[in-house]
């Protein structure tokens, strides 16, 4: 029983850590976006306002995949262990 619960907790933590690997993608993407925005502002300083707005929009959209991973990681850490342990206890009781 303890072993099973330990395996559940450990695997949830491992899964949460692995899910956050998805954070790499948005990091690279947003870095590219900001670099290009800086270039654009350097070339045309008068268009700073619209470039900044567009860049923030783009960053927010590029962030979405990272946030999906974050939501899954949070669910794995805070919600999944309770749920899975409950299921385990119920199955053992039923046997």
């Amino acid at each position: 029983m303890e072993l099973a619960i330990g395996i559940i907790l450990g695997c949830c933590a491992l899964g949460a850590g692995m899910a956050m690997i998805a954070g790499i993608g948005p990091g690279i993407g947003e870095g590219n976006a900001v670099a290009s925005a800086c270039e654009a502002i350097g070339r045309q300083p008068e268009s700073k306002g619209s470039v900044t707005t567009t860049m923030l929009m783009g960053c927010a959209i590029a962030e979405t995949t990272g946030l999906y991973a974050l939501v899954i990681a949070i669910l794995l850490i805070f919600v999944a262990p309770n749920l899975l342990v409950d299921i385990l206890v119920e199955t053992i009781k039923a046997l």
Binding site: M57, A60, E63, T64, L67, L70, V71
Partner: protein
């Protein structure tokens, strides 16, 4: 001319008080109801009470109460800022109100075009609601936007709007749009249609929630660090987490103020883009012109 009447002043004071009282009420409610806990804890919204319902219990949670607080604060802020409007703009607050409305109207017109001019109040409402809800963290309250149920509700509302404007040319035109490049891709189009509200809700909620989680983790880490480094100090000095002073505030400027306002802006911006992008304006105008032509023919006969 400059002197305000007593009645005007009393109304002003009433509005300001009504902006402050809900926040104080929220803080008191939070202090009274939060269960005592040791160390750090990251929990969802507290459930105050539940009303039994046939399918599922209807829960009154912290996030609902706090969003009600946000409604009241916004309502009385608007009443205060538009109190004593006049053509000559004698009061300073009228300039602020005009500034806000003009800015958002310009934003809406730039992003959505002339046809959607009437969308300005809706966009201002989204901006204000989302912004104030996120900024409630500054008073130590639970931000309603870090609860997916609240943000999911807004996203569903936006999805209904998008679908309504796509349906304007009739349901047949709406269904035809799904097989747009090739009919073979229809399942993918349906998935991307469903993903729109989902990603909007997740984006807003994930940003605000990750900010508060990171703040809590940093606070705990600094507390532990200061008890490790400064634990040798005599008496009560050892119990005070000195490292917690100041450092989390810098993070809070980013996560609470900047991120909260930015997410409000992005939610409003995406609403505008999706609604305006989904609406087939040319087709609608063609249909309208055709309809008027036939009506004219019928009336002439």
């Amino acid at each position: 001319m400059n002197t305000k009447s007593l009645r005007f002043k009393i109304t002003d004071a009433f509005y300001i008080a009504m902006m402050i009282i809900p926040i104080v009420f929220g803080i008191v409610l939070k202090v009274v109801t939060t269960p005592p806990s040791e160390g750090i804890s990251i929990t969802g919204a507290l459930v105050y009470f539940s009303i039994p319902m046939p399918l599922q219990d209807f829960l009154i949670t912290e996030s609902q109460v706090n969003s009600a607080i946000a409604f009241i604060v916004i309502l009385f802020f608007c009443l205060y800022i538009t109190h004593g409007l006049s053509e000559k703009a004698e009061l300073k607050r009228q300039h602020i109100a005009e500034f806000i409305v003009e800015k958002v109207a310009a934003l809406v017109e730039e992003n959505m075009g002339d046809y959607f001019k009437g969308f300005t109040p809706f966009i201002i409402a989204i901006l204000a609601l989302s912004g104030v809800s996120s900024l409630l963290t500054l008073f130590g309250l639970y931000p309603p936007t870090s609860d997916i149920n609240i943000v999911g509700g807004w996203a569903v509302l936006v999805f209904i709007l998008i679908t309504y404007y796509k349906m304007k040319c009739g349901p047949l035109h709406y269904l035809k749009a799904f097989g747009d490049p090739v009919p073979f891709l229809a399942p993918l189009n349906i998935i991307s249609e469903v993903a729109t509200p989902l990603s909007m809700a997740f984006r807003h909620y994930g940003n605000v929630l990750s900010g508060s989680v990171i703040s809590v983790l940093l606070g705990a880490a600094l507390g532990g660090l200061s008890s490790m480094v400064l634990g040798w100090l005599p008496g009560f000095l050892a119990d005070i987490p000195l490292f917690r002073i100041g450092i989390p505030a810098v993070l809070s400027v980013y996560f609470d103020i900047f991120s909260g306002c930015l997410q409000a802006f992005i939610f409003a911006m995406l609403t505008m883009l999706y609604v305006a992008g989904g609406f087939p304006l040319e087709e609608y105008m063609n249909r309208k012109a055709k309809k008027e032509k036939t009506r004219k023919c019928v009336t002439n006969k």
